[in-house]
């Protein structure tokens, strides 16, 4: 395995700088965002590397759970921020975060206990990266699906209410938009699974191979991860869209768009 020095990373950083200069010349205003994002990557990943180092040295259940909780809460905030017309108040945070908790934690614990079987099951070398992979992907799925759901409810208000006026139940009136939302939340992971290995070499596997692992071993882990991610994303999306669509209606099955925030 080739050890990377700080100088190696600095050389890679000059590529990002070149891109930023290029975009200034082309009068695109993306350069500032690009630089800030690149700096965040360097700082955040360095910090998490240090945190993981300490965590691996003190593998107690409490510390692992604390780390998992922080990851969940940050992911929940991210899901909320990515929705244009999210629910107002605590609901806007709770729907996504609860769905992610339900799916990512369940799937991670299942994988740790049933498939990997490390002792103890919460060994952070396995638990934290797995949870991170799952949270990152369910986060995308749930954010896309909820954005789609609330957007459709807003745009198709006339249709949903016309169906209610004709005596349909709330779940019949919104069924089509619920289906579309679930579909759009799951399409990215389905596409990633379909293209894996042919069009793209997934990042985790690539990383393992670069770090010196045998390709076949890396591939096995990648397949495991893909399956876990699709299960986690699917479950999380289903949960979020089910809770979210129910919350769009009140106890008299009226469409309550005033529960959504204006963008």
């Amino acid at each position: 395995m080739v050890e990377l020095s700080v100088a190696d990373l600095a050389i890679a950083a000059t590529l990002v700088l070149l891109l930023a200069l290029l975009s200034i010349r082309l009068r695109s205003n993306i350069s500032q965002q690009l630089i800030i994002a690149a700096m965040r990557t360097a700082v955040q990943l360095t910090l998490v590397g240090l945190v993981l180092k300490v965590l691996f040295a003190n593998a107690s259940f409490g510390w692992v759970m604390l780390m998992a909780l922080i990851m969940l809460l940050v992911a929940g905030r991210e899901v909320m921020a990515r929705q244009e017309r999210r629910f107002k108040g605590w609901l806007g945070y709770a729907v996504g975060t609860f769905s992610m908790f339900l799916s990512s934690f369940a799937v991670t614990i299942f994988a740790l206990v049933v498939i990997l079987g490390e002792n103890p099951w919460y060994t952070p070398q396995y638990a934290i990266p797995l949870l991170g992979m799952l949270l990152g992907n369910t986060m995308n799925g749930i954010a896309i699906a909820m954005d789609r759901l609330t957007h459709s409810a807003w745009e198709q208000r006339a249709v949903i209410e016309a169906r209610l006026m004709l005596g349909e139940r709330w779940d019949q009136a919104i069924a089509e938009y619920r289906r579309q939302a679930i579909r759009s939340g799951m399409i990215p992971i389905i596409n990633a699974m379909a293209a894996a290995g042919i069009v793209s070499l997934p990042g985790m596997m690539t990383g393992q191979i670069l770090a010196g692992a045998a390709p076949v071993e890396a591939v096995k882990y990648q397949i495991l991860i893909m399956f876990l991610i699709s299960a986690g994303t699917g479950l999380g999306t289903l949960a979020a869209v089910s809770i979210g669509s129910k919350q769009l209606f009140d106890e008299r099955q009226r469409l309550c768009l005033d529960r959504l925030r204006q963008p």
Partner: protein, 210 residues
């Protein structure tokens, strides 16, 4: 034996600028409402169909709306909005129950059910939307300017079908209209909206018609 409760009873209903208003309507009565735009006529109809939160309550044959599941209430108290909405590709996909009046009767052929929704004219849309609502057999029919954009011929057709339905089913009709001639033709009682309340008016031109 006590008198049966009126078909529709409204008790202290209040929603945004409307109310609190109370009203009793007997089966088979057609009640017209007019008032300047923005006076809350549509709000009243939406509250009666239980599409918007409100205080007070409407009762059907003495049973309050809160004792009836929302989707059942809206089947019995059907609202026809000013603009009809179609969400499936073909006209016929939107129809479930059998029609109380034949399509020929309202100037349409049965073949229209096989047509794509995009090919309908506004007159056809409005007549079909009424038929779609009537196929639920509502006991109370809430009509929000059902003939606002229609020519005289289509207006008469719609009026005739509503009248026939009202007689056959002994339904209550609450009809928002701006046309005094139409009100004179169809109304049993006539109200104007002012300051969120309904004021009963005499129906002008009615004696002349009779």
């Amino acid at each position: 034996m006590s008198k049966p409760p009126p078909l529709l009873q409204i008790n202290q209903l209040q929603r945004l600028m409307i109310g609190p208003l109370s009203l009793q309507v007997e089966a088979g009565d057609c009640l017209c409402i007019s008032g300047p735009s923005g006076s809350g006529k549509s709000q009243l109809l939406r509250a009666l169909a239980d599409l918007d939160p409100h205080t007070g309550e409407a009762c059907l044959q003495g049973v309050p709306a809160s004792n009836i599941p929302a989707e059942v209430w809206r089947t019995r108290v059907g609202l026809l909005p000013p603009e009809s909405v179609w969400w499936l590709p073909r006209v016929g996909d939107h129809f479930h129950g059998d029609l109380p009046v034949s399509l020929e009767h309202i100037g349409l052929s049965a073949a229209i059910l096989a047509q794509p929704v995009g090919q309908l004219s506004s007159g056809e849309k409005q007549r079909l939307a009424l038929m779609r609502l009537l196929s639920n057999r509502p006991q109370v029919l809430l009509l929000d300017e059902p003939t606002a954009n229609l020519d005289p011929e289509n207006t008469r057709r719609i009026e005739a079908v509503i009248d026939e339905y009202r007689r056959a089913q002994q339904a209550v009709i609450i009809w928002v209209s701006h046309d005094p001639a139409q009100i004179a033709r169809v109304a049993d009682r006539y109200f104007t909206v002012s300051d969120g309340l309904l004021e009963e008016q005499t129906i002008e031109g009615r004696q002349w018609l009779n």
